[in-house]
């Protein structure tokens, strides 16, 4: 499997930080100076394939890196973007969290035009999403057996069904 990010991870090219599950690279094609990529070490293509523990680690690292961008580069803002799927503009077959340091008037335009929907459309969308969230569970990759069993869900998560209004 050819994957530029996997190559960089193994060759430690552009690497700034690595741990067991996550790797931080500096993007050689930046949107602005200091544009970072937080990647899972494992080759994972889309967000839905990301195991929860790795996802949690990536989120924490991304958040810390975002803080570092504020502190080290004097950024006035940061954007965290995940392009999940070709429809969302994903160009690499390896999931990555983009962290883009921002400054006032840097000419980067990451915004969207709103497209208001009718109330009926909104209700249909709401219903569709809610049904999916209640019924379907995202496919969890099989955990290797030698890993420790997952801790039980926190009480807050168990409470969730009753809390749906």
């Amino acid at each position: 499997m050819e994957c530029t990010y996997c190559d960089w991870i193994t060759s430690k090219k552009n690497l700034l930080y690595e741990d067991e599950h996550s790797v931080v690279l500096i993007n050689p094609k930046p949107a602005s100076a200091g544009h970072l990529l937080v990647l899972p070490r494992k080759h994972i293509t889309i967000f839905e394939q990301l195991p929860s523990d790795i996802g949690a680690r990536l989120g924490i690292i991304a958040n810390k890196m975002s803080m570092i961008q504020f502190e080290a580069l004097g950024a006035q803002g940061t954007n965290l973007v995940i392009q999940n799927g070709v429809g969302a503009g994903q160009t690499m077959p390896h999931l990555g969290i983009h962290l883009i340091p921002r400054k006032e008037g840097d000419g980067i335009n990451l915004s969207w035009k709103s497209r208001p929907l009718t109330e009926e459309q909104m209700a249909a969308v709401e219903l569709g999403l809610r049904e999916q969230l209640e019924n379907a569970q995202p496919p969890q990759p099989q955990q290797p057996t030698h890993e420790q069993p997952k801790p039980p869900l926190p009480p807050s998560m168990l409470k969730y069904p009753e809390r749906i209004p």
Binding site: L15, M67, A72, N79, G87, G89
Partner: protein
């Protein structure tokens, strides 16, 4: 408490204002954006008031990623989206509009016109390296981590290309054995095609004037050079290496009739303006035509070239060569078939 009372998103998250909730748990509420970029645009809100993501504690971030994944999955399944964009803006310069941290999950379809593609910009190497160094230092402080690869690309070559060029020892003027070995017949074709009776073996092949002249002889290559001028800078030494490597391929292409000489008139007068190439700032050349580009992409085994040659041979055998070649064959009745051995020789003795 004060902030959360004033913040509309806190009130939405805590259920004090009605909104179209799709998910809720102890820490998060997910609602539909009332001004969606696309149908199904969700906002993941924390119940506690945080202004920006760096204020959010680790355990909440960890949970948030999991919920974002679920929402993304639900959007893909329920709305037949082809992808999702997960987006966070921290700070007004990054496009944050409300003083409450939120994570957007935007279902996407190719060509939906949502302008959330990450732009690529050209930043100077110095600026990029400076940012990298600062980040590295801070990461070393925070994580006590230093990457094994400390190598930051040197800035010097970018600053003064000519100095570096002078430091590289000049290559000995190797003469192309291929041209010297050229049979009288090939020499004849060459002269016939160029229309200019060049004494090629008298010109050292690495001379830039020769290279320029070579380019000036072919329409295709001129187009390539023009395309290269637009595509980005390339060091003169690099170009020379490429030209050096490819002249044999070019000769083979010419032999096959894929590239043609410019015309009967003096090519140096009517072809490309050679001074434009030679005097380009930083002594840079630029890369290739259609043919040049495909040669550039795979220098060792140019597959398109190989296919072109194969195609040509097949066409020859089937008796339906392209028109242009047909015309050439008519001009030179002795060249009805291509000599595969000579072709191999031109392509590097395979």
């Amino acid at each position: 408490m004060d902030a959360s009372q004033q913040c509309i998103f806190c009130q939405i998250a805590q259920g004090k204002i009605n909104a179209q909730k799709v998910y809720e748990d102890a820490d998060f509420t997910v609602v539909l954006d009332i001004n969606p970029a696309n149908p199904g645009h969700c906002l993941l809100l924390t119940k506690t008031h945080y202004q920006v993501m760096p204020q959010v504690p680790d355990e909440i971030v960890a949970k948030m990623m999991d919920i974002a994944k679920k929402i993304s999955h639900a959007a893909l399944a329920a709305l037949k989206a082809q992808g999702t964009t997960i987006f966070v803006a921290n700070g007004a310069p990054a496009g944050q509009r409300a003083p409450h941290f939120m994570l957007h999950v935007i279902p996407r379809v190719a060509g939906d016109g949502v302008e959330l593609d990450i732009p690529l910009k050209d930043y100077s190497l110095a600026e990029a390296n400076d940012a990298r160094k600062k980040l590295q230092e801070r990461i070393a402080q925070v994580f006590e981590f230093r990457p094994v690869m400390e190598a930051i690309p040197a800035q010097q070559p970018q600053k003064d290309i000519t100095v570096v060029a002078e430091q590289i020892p000049p290559r000995p003027p190797v003469r192309s054995t291929m041209i010297e070995k050229k049979s009288p017949e090939t020499q004849f074709i060459w002269q016939k095609q160029t229309g200019a009776h060049l004494e090629i073996k008298d010109l050292p092949i690495y001379d830039s004037a020769h290279v320029t002249r070579f380019f000036s002889l072919h329409k295709e290559l001129i187009a390539v050079v023009d395309a290269l001028v637009k595509s980005g800078p390339m060091h003169a030494i690099e170009l020379q290496r490429i030209v050096d490597f490819r002249i044999k391929h070019l000769l083979a292409l010419e032999y096959l009739g894929y590239i043609r000489p410019l015309g009967e008139k003096d090519p140096l007068r009517h072809g490309i303006d050679s001074t434009r190439i030679r005097n380009h700032p930083g002594r840079t050349f630029y890369a290739a035509t259609r043919i040049g580009r495909m040669l550039l992409e795979d220098p060792v085994h140019p597959p398109i070239l190989a296919n072109a040659i194969k195609e040509k041979i097949i066409l020859e055998e089937m008796g339906s060569a392209p028109e242009q070649t047909q015309a050439q064959i008519e001009k030179n009745p002795s060249q009805e078939k291509f000599d595969l051995d000579r072709l191999a020789e031109l392509l590097g003795g395979k």
